[in-house]
Each structure stands twice: as C-alpha cells, then as structure tokens.
Amino acid sequence: MAGNRGDSAMGSDRFGEVRIENVTKTYKKKDSSSTVLQDCTFRIERGRLTALMGPSGCGKTVLINLIAGYEIPTTGQIFLNDVPVTKPDPERLVVFQESALFSWMTVYSNVIFGCRVQGMPRKEMKDRAEHILRTVGLYEFRDKYPSQLSGGMQRRAELARALINDPKIMILDEPFRGLDALTRQLMQEFYVELFEDGGRTNFFVTHEIDEAIFLADRLVIMTFQPGKIKAEIEVDLPRPRKFGMLASHRFMEIREYAIELLYEEAAKAFAAGSKSAYDLVGAIVAQKGMSQKCE
C-alpha cells in the first residue's frame, strides 16, 4: 500500500502537485508595510502528506489563504499541476481551524453543499454523499445538526464535506485543534487511515509536533516573521502508521530534532515581543538543562 501509492498517482492529474515559487506576501498599512511571507519556495508533492509547522504568527494561515486562492501573492506564484492559482476552486479544498460547518444545515446538507452549488444531478449527489458518509462513519447522523455532534464527529463531517468534491489537494488548517488529546489521537488515526486508503495530496498545517510527525511524509518548518522555509525533514516512519509508533526510537529522534529547530524560531519570536514571549524565556532556560535550578 505505502510503496505503490505514490507511483500509481504519479502519472495522472487526478491528484495535484503544488509548487510554491518565490512567494512573498506584503500587507500595506497606512504608512508602513509588513512582510508576512518572504521568498517561500517548496513543493507539496503528489500523493503525499506534507505537514507545515511554525511558531504562531509565522504566516501559516496566510500561506493557506494563498494556496486556496482567497488572497494573491505580492510577488511569486503558486501552481497546481503547472496551472497558476488565481481564485478559490473546489479542486483545492480547505478544512478550517475550529469548525467551518454551516450550523444551520444538517450534516447531509453540509456534505452535499459543494455538489449542490456546482449543480450536480440529484441522484449522483445522493449516492456520493451516502458513500462518503459511510466512509467517515456518520451515516446514521446525517440528519443531525452540527451542534448535536461531538467535536470529533464534527471534524469528520468537515472532512467528508471536502472529500466528496474529490479535490486535487486537501488543505487542512489545524483541523484537530481544540479536541482533547485522546480524541485527537483517535482522529489522527482515523485520518491517517483515510489518507493511506485514498492517497490524495494533502497539506496539513499544525503546531502540534507529535501530530505532524505521526501523520506526515514530509515536514516543512517555517521561520518567524517574515515567514520563510527553514527546513524540510523527511519522515521515514513506515506506513501504515500505527499509534504504537509514538513510542518508537525513530519517532523520538525526529521529534527532538524538530523541537530544536522550532526552539530557535521561538526565541526569535520572543525578541520580536510576541504575545507568547514569556513562554520563551522559559524555553531558552529549559535548553540549558534544569538540574541546577533545583538546588
């Protein structure tokens, strides 16, 4: 499964490959301007899961908005299968932080929303929705409203709403934020299985390091203001991923390495006076080891 997934997808255009080339995004204020992203260049490879990490305020959300087409880069370009991105399109779907389910629609109406506004025939829409709802295990809950579902089920409904459109790339902006750690773990397992079965291109933004390593084939780490690409790490844990891997040596090695890189950025954020600055005073002290503090 893990081996031939990339190969089989490679030839077709069914799944997308995104190239981000020299992208810079600057916001003009009255008399000053602030650069949020600077010269970002990287690829979201076909059929693989790329995870992006970085300190708060490093422009992750802006990057997502650019790829999704809600905003356009100041300079540079973004390509999906060599076609430049200019506006939002169902081939690039975003699953939002917290929930962006429409609270006034049932689960079923939410899931078929994309198909309906794009004018898909009723029969096909219904078949697809049923299939996808069964896949995410929400078939019995199709007539409920989002507020009647648990946090984990809401996230699955949102995944279904995106998946039904068969996007070339799925963009996930911290989709499991706000779930408790155990539910989150279960959601990660559910999601990684879904990914391993479907094998589409996924771009996953998170600031939870365990989550990033557990899910990703490749880890992209961003710098703090302006956001640039600091490092890319290949995650060579075998697939299918199992929760037991969280306690493996390789996992802990990658984790330590990534944390080290992130600390450096965190320290910069501190110098820049970010709101989380005081956490980083501690972060720097922590690196020096703590045995002396106990005396």
Partner: protein
Amino acid sequence: MAINNQNGYGAISIRKVGKIYDPEGVHVEAMRDCSFEIAAGEFAVIVGPSGCGKTTLLNAIAGFDTITSGEIYLDEELISSPRKQIKPDVDRMVVFQNGALFPWKTVVENITYGPLVQRKMKKPEAMDAARDMLSKVGLNEIEDKYPEELSSGVQRRVEILRALINKPKVVMLDEPFRGLDAIAKTVMHEFLVQIFCTASNTMFFITHDLDEAIFLGHKVVIMTTRPAQVKKIVTVNLPWPREHHLKGSETYLDLKREVLEAVHEEAKKAFEAGEREMA
C-alpha cells in the same frame, strides 16, 4: 525516584469511592469502587478518557462536590464520604482546566488574593512575597498586567503561583496545559518540575497527554471509561528532577508504550460508547 517531602503532609487515600449522578432520575454512574493511595509529596498523574470521572474525584477531594459511596482521607482525616464533606479550604488548592484567574485583577492582585482574604499577611508583605515568587520564575515584568493580556502559558503559571503562595498540602491540577502547543508545554513542564522541587506538596495532576504524564509523574493512574475504576497504576522509575534527555531513554519508551496501550484501549471504548449515546 526520590519523594522529597520530609514533613509527610498531604497523603491522600481514596477508598472504594463511587459517584452516581441522578438529575431528573437519569441514573449515571460516574465512578465505581475507585481506590488508590497517593503518598505525601508524591506527584500523581491521573489519565483516562474524557468524561470518565477524573474531575469528579478532584471535586470530591477539593470539597466542591460529594460522593455517593466510599471514603477519601487526607492525612488520616476523613474529608469526604456520603455522610461527611469537608468544605474547600486553603490546604487543597485547585488549578482549573480553562484557568480561573480573576480577569478583573492584575497578576499581583491575583496572587496576593489568598493571603489577604485569609488575613495571613499584610498587604506590603503579600506584595513582596508575590513579587519574589514571580521573579524567581522570570515573570517579574508582568505583575501589573491583566490576565487576558498574557498568553495562556503565562496565565497558567501565574495561576499555579497563586495556589502555591498559600502553602497548600495538595495542589490539584485539572488538565492545566490543555490547548497549549508543544513548545509552550515543554516550558510548562520545566516550570512545574522546578516548582515541585522547592514546594514539596502532593500533586494531583489530571491530563490527557501521555508524554506529560510520564515525564512529570511518580506514578501514573490510568482510569477506565465510565463508570471509572482504576485500570492500572504505572510507577515511573525515572530519576528526579526529570530532565529532557530522559525522553529518548529505553525506560521512558517502555513506559510510554505501556501507558499508551492501556489508555488507547479505554479511549476507543469511550469514543464508541459516546457515539452510541448520541445516536
């Protein structure tokens, strides 16, 4: 694993505790025959699925709620049983899940609140003590800020200081670091280790994060889904004070695997039960 409490205050004994909620006649058994011991000065971590009654236990020890069977002792004194419930007091401090710093008081006012309402200290004395605590952990610049101006990591640390200034026997923390990212959590762990080394209270720490549980605890108590019982108690044989590099060690990974499996099984059960309940 050196338990560094010499005076021996703060031992908790939980004996066959059960709790049944019965609003509108809906019979919900949150806890059943739950028994374990926490030694004085021990750092005990409680893990288990959501809604499994960990908070129920905390509420009973703190005196916020009652239990329907069993007994809880603090230093050989009965503090909770179906017939008797000791009120909340300064010997048992709670740090809440979503934080309960008073938003309308500045950091220093929050910390000095306890000693002042208890009339234990005069105002200047309390202010000095609070400033002293803050500067020891490198937070001296924020004393006049309001909590909501601070990041949640700093808020949590201030809340822990607010509890500790009262020199309680037991500090109970209910998922205090939920929602923080990995880096902020690491900082919080360092902070707790440092605090715990000097303060020598008994710690009762509820969490969902297993790395956190093993890194901090002398013992990890794993609870089952509802009705909550003790599934397993894992003793963490790692040297204290805990240091970061421990996380790569073979002992650590073995412990993590053990806890992971036990918890995962329960989490799955709870998740499925939850879905059945909603359907």
